[in-house]
């Protein structure tokens, strides 16, 4: 009876092939965890400085290309993933100290323009250094994209399972950092009221540097995790950043749990749209369709799912 409905899909609909549906959901959660990491990176900076760092994706692209060079030099692939995060941390700290600090306290637009400038510089340098020869480059994974793990209801590639596991572990660690440590409390306080934070004895400058470092570290990790799937070229983080931005906005730009939920939601929706979007629309429509869904959600909840206006009595 659903035959006419089934005709609408590119692939066999879920009720005919539940296995495929399950696989797509898990694969969506895996890429979703990468979007969630990048969304967290965006939210971390937005919460503390009220700006969106447009160079977020390019910074991750830069560290990922650096890892690719190390891979050619023979560095172990697991080590690469750790190094990607560490190099991101360092890059973020340097960028905050050198590029962002001078425009601190200036109008937000100035800071945004600075991040756009950084976008252009990083993109040009990466193109100059790495984008010679055949593009895109393949990026290694410590596991396999072809060998699969049987989850019972679905078979998913080893790499996707690893990405999901690493992503979730990092998010749990971050949550612990923010909620159960003195440092995390100081970071939250600084994001909320820098002047009051200084009066508490918190070194606000260090907290901002740390925020940028963490943010770029998440980006670096995300880049190394997604590159084996998307392949590596100077613009490879662009679509990741778009989905991550959608995830952050969907969750509410100032909400950390929102970024996580938004990331997973966008990842699953993207994957399902890519699989099931009917022929006449084409799988290429998944990005605009995902963004259309985002717009619909924002019409109902303008602050995103978890975003709030601060509760305040004046």
């Amino acid at each position: 009876m659903f035959q006419w409905l089934g005709q609408l899909f590119l692939a066999p609909p879920p009720w005919e092939n539940p296995q495929l549906f399950g696989e797509q959901v898990v694969a969506g959660l895996a890429t979703g965890s990468v979007y969630a990491l990048v969304a967290l990176a965006i939210v971390l900076i937005y919460r503390s400085t009220d700006i969106v760092n447009f160079a977020q994706g390019e910074m991750a692209m830069f560290t990922t290309f650096a890892m690719w060079s190390l891979h050619l030099a023979g560095v172990n692939t697991w080590v690469l993933i750790v190094l990607a995060a560490l190099l991101g941390l360092a890059l973020g700290a340097v960028v905050e100290r050198v590029v962002i600090r001078p425009v601190e306290g200036k109008p937000e637009l100035s800071v945004i323009v600075v991040t756009l400038g950084l976008f252009v510089v990083l993109n040009s340098v990466a193109t100059w250094v790495w984008a010679q020869g055949v593009l895109p480059k393949t990026f290694p994974t410590p596991l396999s994209l072809l060998e699969s793990v049987n989850l019972g209801f679905a078979r998913v590639s080893q790499h996707h399972v690893a990405v999901l596991a690493i992503g979730v572990a990092v998010m749990v660690a971050l949550a612990a950092l923010f909620n159960y440590t003195r440092l995390g409390l100081a970071m939250r306080a600084t994001a909320q009221n820098p002047t009051a934070a200084r009066l508490m004895g918190i070194n606000v400058g260090n907290m901002l540097t740390l925020g940028w470092a963490l943010s770029a570290g998440l980006g670096g990790l995300a880049g190394a995790l997604i590159a084996p799937i998307t392949f590596l070229h100077p613009a490879f983080m662009l679509s990741v950043l778009l989905y991550a931005f959608a995830a952050a906005v969907l969750g509410g730009l100032n909400s950390v749990p929102g970024a996580v939920v938004g990331g997973f939601a966008i990842g699953v929706v993207e994957n399902l749209l890519g699989t099931y979007t009917p022929d006449w629309l084409g799988a290429e429509m998944k990005l605009p369709l995902t963004l259309l869904l985002l717009v619909l959600v924002l019409l109902v909840r303008p602050t995103g799912i978890f975003g709030t206006q601060a509760v305040r009595r004046v």
């Binding site: 009051a196 200084r198 004895g201 070194n203 509760v311």
Partner: protein, 235 residues
């Protein structure tokens, strides 16, 4: 405990303080009186390091602190409870208090001080898990003062604790300030619009006008002073 000598400070081109000198003796409550814009808040901001003076010196217990950053000055024992309270409204009451003790490493002492704050402000204990932004104005002021006390300061700077509060609540808060000063010999520098209340609790007062100290005397003398009566007490 605290000495300001010839402090001159400005916000960009706008001069806020000119040659301000004052002294706060250990264990006393001293108040700064003056109209809006006279420089009361700026004086506190200079002391806590938020505003760097162009000239003059600030001494805390004989040591210069005017070149230090706010975070260093807190660690030296100066707690600034700012105008408008400046709470972390999205954090809980408990978290706000913990942040007050950020510079401290002595866990046992911090726990003890938490109990002390709850002793002075029992309502904060009841509200411990609530977001600071959901408290009433009076409770927020109590939290701001409690957060200041959590650093176990030698000197407490209070900026307009009565701002926007009902008279009854204001009186309650002033009673507590008096009690803290009496029981712990905590030195307090108080900025207050309500001169009557301030001169009731203070030992000494300074009157600021357009960034200058124009009058300095014992509180009981200021209460009798013709000029102060007319300008700030309203009778």
């Amino acid at each position: 405990m605290l000495r300001l000598e010839g402090i001159t400070a400005a916000y960009g081109p706008i001069l806020a303080l000119r040659d301000v000198s004052l002294e706060v003796e250990e264990g006393s409550v001293v108040t700064l009186l003056g109209a809006n814009g006279a420089g009361k808040t700026s004086t506190l901001r200079v002391i806590s390091g938020l505003l760097r003076p162009q000239a003059g010196r600030v001494e805390l217990a004989g040591e210069r602190i005017d070149h230090l950053s706010p975070e260093r000055i807190v660690a030296r024992g100066v707690a600034h409870v700012p105008e408008g309270r400046q709470l972390f409204v999205n954090l809980t009451v408990r978290e706000n208090l913990e942040l007050g003790a950020y510079t401290r490493r002595d866990r046992a002492g911090v726990r003890q001080d938490l109990e002390r704050v709850f002793h002075y402000f029992p309502i904060l204990k009841e509200r411990e898990r609530q977001q600071a932004g959901t408290l009433s104005g009076g409770e927020q002021q109590m939290l701001a003062i409690g957060r200041g006390l959590m650093s176990r300061p030698r000197l407490l700077l209070l900026d307009e604790p009565s701002l926007g509060l009902a008279p009854l609540v204001t009186r309650e808060i002033f009673e507590i300030i008096r009690a803290i000063n009496a029981q712990e010999r905590l030195t307090v520098l108080l900025v207050e619009q309500n001169a009557r209340l301030a001169l009731g609790v203070a030992r000494k007062g300074y009157v600021l006008e357009t960034g200058r100290v124009v009058l300095a005397d014992r509180a009981e003398n200021l209460r009798e002073n013709e000029e102060v009566r007319r300008s700030y007490l309203g009778y």
